[in-house]
């Protein structure tokens, strides 16, 4: 259960990007968040995944208020979220081969023994061939890299998936494959999903409920000047 109450966040306190955003994500629920580009969806997604400290407001994870963000957040809270970013090129460390990219969270959390099994399993689930796993990010396409990024997000079996415009840069067949992989994972584990995007058709078909940005947060036009 993830709950955001009146969250205000941004990169400059005087001009917040997200103003008083509130939303609730029940366990197992798939929630779509729709909004025009630049409205603050990605910032809100980063706050929800404990990657960006909000300027004001409360975030409740399973009913407990979260007080620490990024590295300061306890590891089990951080790893409860699996995050997939919009641009796989920027979200992948260019030095790591795809197999290492997927295994990195297991290494970081000291679960090296699970690496061979989980990497093979997830490569299969996301449609990556063994040949692709030995390549570096610059040797694969955006779609293939995004599959690896999705596999990395799933490798620690998160309870909540945050997909920030996961399919915005991809073609229809890769989009379908990635959405199918997410849905398969959710069916198996009962994980919740926060899917951020600007494609209403996709979000309507993918999610149980789709909220428009103006239902979630105050727009910048409403801001007192």
């Amino acid at each position: 259960m993830l709950e955001l109450r009146s969250v205000t966040a941004g990169y400059d306190r005087r001009a917040p990007v997200v103003r008083e955003a509130s939303l609730t994500l029940a366990p197992g629920q798939a929630l779509g968040l729709l909004g025009p580009s630049g409205c603050g969806k990605s910032t809100l997604a980063r706050v929800a995944a404990l990657l960006h400290r909000p300027d004001a407001g409360t975030l409740l994870l399973d009913g407990t208020p979260v007080r620490r963000w990024r590295h300061r957040a306890p590891r089990e809270q951080r790893t409860a979220f699996g995050v997939v970013f919009q641009q796989p090129r920027l979200a992948a460390d260019p030095r790591l081969r795809l197999a290492d990219l997927i295994a990195e969270p297991l290494r970081a959390t000291g679960r090296r023994d699970q690496i061979p099994g989980r990497v093979t399993e997830l490569a299969e689930a996301t449609g990556l061939t063994p040949d692709l796993l030995t390549r570096r990010p610059h040797e694969v396409s955006d779609g293939q890299l995004q599959r690896a990024c999705l596999a990395r997000a799933l490798v620690l079996r998160p309870r909540i998936l945050v997909c920030d415009e996961m399919t915005a840069m991809l073609d229809a067949s890769t989009t379908a494959a990635l959405v199918a992989a997410v849905e398969r994972y959710r069916r198996e584990t009962g994980a919740a999903l926060l899917a951020v995007g600007h494609d209403r058709t996709l979000l309507d078909r993918w999610c149980d409920r789709t909220l428009h940005w103006h239902e979630v947060a105050r727009s910048r036009a409403d801001a007192p000047t």
Binding site: R46, A49, L50, L51, R70, H71, R75, R78, T79, F81, G82, V83, F85, Q86, Q87, L90, A91, A92, D93, R95, E104, P105, A108, T109, C149, R152, A153, V155, L156
Partner: protein
Amino acid sequence: MADTTAGAVWRPHGTARRSTHTLRLRVSAALMGVTVLAVLLVPPLAQLDQQAVDLAAKLQPPTWAHPFGTDDVGRDLLLRCVYGLRVSLLVGVVAALTATVIGTAVGATAGALGGRTDRAVMRLVDAVASVPHLLLGVFIVAMFRPGVWPVVISVALTHWLSTARIVRAEILSLRSRPCIDAAVSGGASRWRVAVRHLLPGVLPQAGLAAVLMVPHAMWHESALSFLGLGLPTHTASLGTLIQTARGSLLAGDWWPTLFPGLFLVVPTLAVAGLAGVWRERINPRRRSELML
């Protein structure tokens, strides 16, 4: 008509630029190779004493017996220059490496931790940088007996600042990328993010800074020795050679200053050429002039 326009558009990226690029690489590599070979091979192969004084042959212009001539007490200048280059290169390389390690550690700490630590560390860097570094270097050297290590310490302690700034700036730009967010979300500790994701990203820049610092450090060693503060006069270094030759230059004897000077300039240009090629390779967009 259309053909000529197309030609004009496409030609600037043609072969001419690439060939000067390769030429610079080859010339620099050859000069560097000759320098390193001379430093490594001449002393053991020549079996001659660079300290051997021959007052009968003092201040001889270049001849076949002494290709670079002799100095004011008749020592062979070619041998003295090679030995001098050996000492100067040693000082340059060790000082540059030490400065780079200090600079990378400080810059990475400031950049990776951010916030108050970053501000405090960078103000300290600004404070140290506000003192002229030759003056600070002279001050540090003056605290010790003359020798190689005080010069190394002095150059290293005054030259880590630029590396710290470069590394911090690179780390700050890397830190805000989604791949770091992904690592944080994947449970990585601060240390792991720094060592696994941030430092490998800045190593090419730090390495380049280290290479460019080698000739700079050699010049500093020469400057300190020239001022009589660096190495003791009996130790041949390029700085001490130029300093002792100063008197004979006024008498019209050009060779005792020219050849050590060339030994300082040639490796500098070679290193600058190699570093320039390296810089263009790691970051083709940054074609600013080399900072020496």
